[in-house]
Symmetry: C2
């Protein structure tokens, strides 16, 4: 354990108690601990064992520019109107080019910025593959354990990086725009397979009908062998979240929120062969295992092992696979 005085078990208990009383500062501090490495994340996690979690986890993804932020803002408004406390984790697992496509800072300054029932946090990759999923899993679990009713995990993209993050959610909402071909990419990456609700936003643009029809056929093809108990029919909705250019208000938001609610009810009634909580735990344990390994490789003992192995590989005396197997074995048993 690398615990300093600022992250010892007693201090963590205090922070959790404060976060449960609604302290934004304590919540932020705990998430920073979770992000800062496996040892501290493990200490926070251990202190949360046994606390009830009633939160629903909603995952929202889609390519940049489709209006995810507007939709997430709409969800926050609806859930707040019901009295729910809402947290948003804005996660960007892909390259920095998508920067700014996430809700993060925009809403922080927007209509919900002064609402104590709303907590918004950006999670950014610190260069460790797997580290972001592990930290997001930890942060989502913390938010659930300190009393948030809804945790929205927003991620940008329709690639494989997103799948790991979205597997944490109870309900996955995929947001697309008409005619971009992103549906095909989402299908390839496996996102279509885990999406529970699809929405084509900016439905005042050309090509909506075609996009909706294409998505419906892709779903029909992909879902035939789907596990998960009684069949959930994945709806494909259309919205104009920002209102129509002709001056009309937003279109389709009530129906979208209703579809997400319906999925939640479906889950409650049909828990299926594998509960979502187990699926979520599995995604978390896998992400944490990878992060632990990466941290071990970068810690002094791991560096030494790697350097020794690399020297042999560079000399041509050992092949890199044998070297990697040996490093793995020594790291996980030696420490």
């Amino acid at each position: 354990m690398h615990d300093g005085p600022a992250s010892g078990a007693g201090r963590i208990e205090e922070l959790i108690a404060a976060a449960a009383r609604g302290s934004v500062r304590a919540t932020a501090r705990l998430i920073t601990l979770i992000e800062s490495g496996e040892d501290r994340a493990a200490a926070v996690s251990a202190a949360l064992v046994g606390r009830p979690r009633r939160a629903r986890l909603l995952g929202v993804t889609g390519p940049p520019g489709v209006g995810k932020s507007t939709l997430v803002t709409a969800f926050i408004g609806r859930y707040r109107a019901r009295g729910a406390r809402v947290a948003v984790l804005a996660v960007d697992p892909s390259s920095p080019f998508s920067g700014g496509a996430l809700l993060g800072d925009r809403v922080r300054m927007g209509e919900h910025s002064t609402d104590p029932g709303v907590y918004i946090r950006s999670m950014s990759s610190r260069g460790e593959l797997g580290g972001l999923s592990a930290a997001t899993a930890g942060a989502a679990d913390l938010l659930a354990a300190v009393g948030f009713d809804v945790v929205i995990v927003e991620t940008v993209g329709v690639g494989q990086n997103e799948v790991a993050v979205l597997r944490l959610a109870d309900t996955v909402l995929l947001v697309l725009a008409p005619g971009l071909g992103d549906g095909v990419q989402a299908a390839k990456a496996g996102i279509l397979e885990i999406a529970d609700v699809l929405v084509v936003n900016k439905a005042d643009r050309d090509g909506v009908a075609t996009t909706v029809r294409d998505l419906r056929s892709m779903i029909a093809l992909g879902r035939s062998g789907q596990a998960g108990g009684a069949a959930w029919r994945v709806p494909v909705l259309t919205t104009i979240a920002a209102g129509s250019p002709a001056g009309g208000g937003p279109v389709g938001l009530d129906e979208l929120v209703a579809a997400v609610d319906a999925h939640r009810e479906h889950l409650a009634e049909h828990p299926g062969p594998q509960r979502r909580a187990v699926r979520r735990a599995q995604a978390a344990v896998e992400a944490i295992a990878l992060r632990r390994l990466q941290e071990s490789l970068h810690a002094p003992a791991g560096r030494d092992l790697l350097a020794a192995a690399a020297a042999q590989v560079a000399d041509g005396t050992v092949d890199p696979h044998a070297a990697a197997a040996r490093v793995l074995r020594m790291l996980t048993t030696g420490g």
Copy 2:
């Protein structure tokens, strides 16, 4: 080992011999084996132990749209003119949005497509974090071992995903365009730190001078504590790879190729405290270790361990970090 008859040791020896005689088909088949999983990649790697590698590895990266493909095509032309055999691995580690930004298929149909001294291959992520770096390391090593003189690893983006791939290269070339702010992103992600040559392409656009000046100050700031032996002064060049719109030919390509050559000579004269071959081996061993772990987690034994751990975590009886540590230990010692 999952070796079928098509990938047994004898068959691999045959393929390697054929690839060394210049068979494109055998080379492609071997890279497919390397991509298809750790066991097969390890079998290919083991069969390559002891073969000399004289290839130089050039890494090229930069955001989409800056003209990487044109520059890589120019490099291929110059190296071919010297009689070198050139291989290109086009790697896309980020989300599928950047699809099409890489050389891959474009050149395959272009001027070098019928040249037997040029081999071009796209490497795409198969959903496994770390898997792409491991497969790229294996493919680059194979190409070096079967007699290519130059292996160009082209990757798209300036994010952290690219760093893992670029660490395999002897010389890293970062390509930017004027005034995009991508230099700052590259610096944040750590690419600026590992870049050996910088080029601002599309130098007929506004803002070139500012971009070059900004990059020079960023380099000056970041390089002060740089390891690597006698100081290499990272040059910032400008090119108009596609020729100027006024009808002029390409500008600055000779100087760019000369700068990359100069870096190679510098490496030969100043191997530094850590040889590039060792750095490369270290990157490869690390990527392979992560890939091995991921594959173990998805193999039947790993799945069972994960499922059992997830059930306990979902019940709230075990925290996910303790569960992950246990899974790691059992996987690396049990198998």
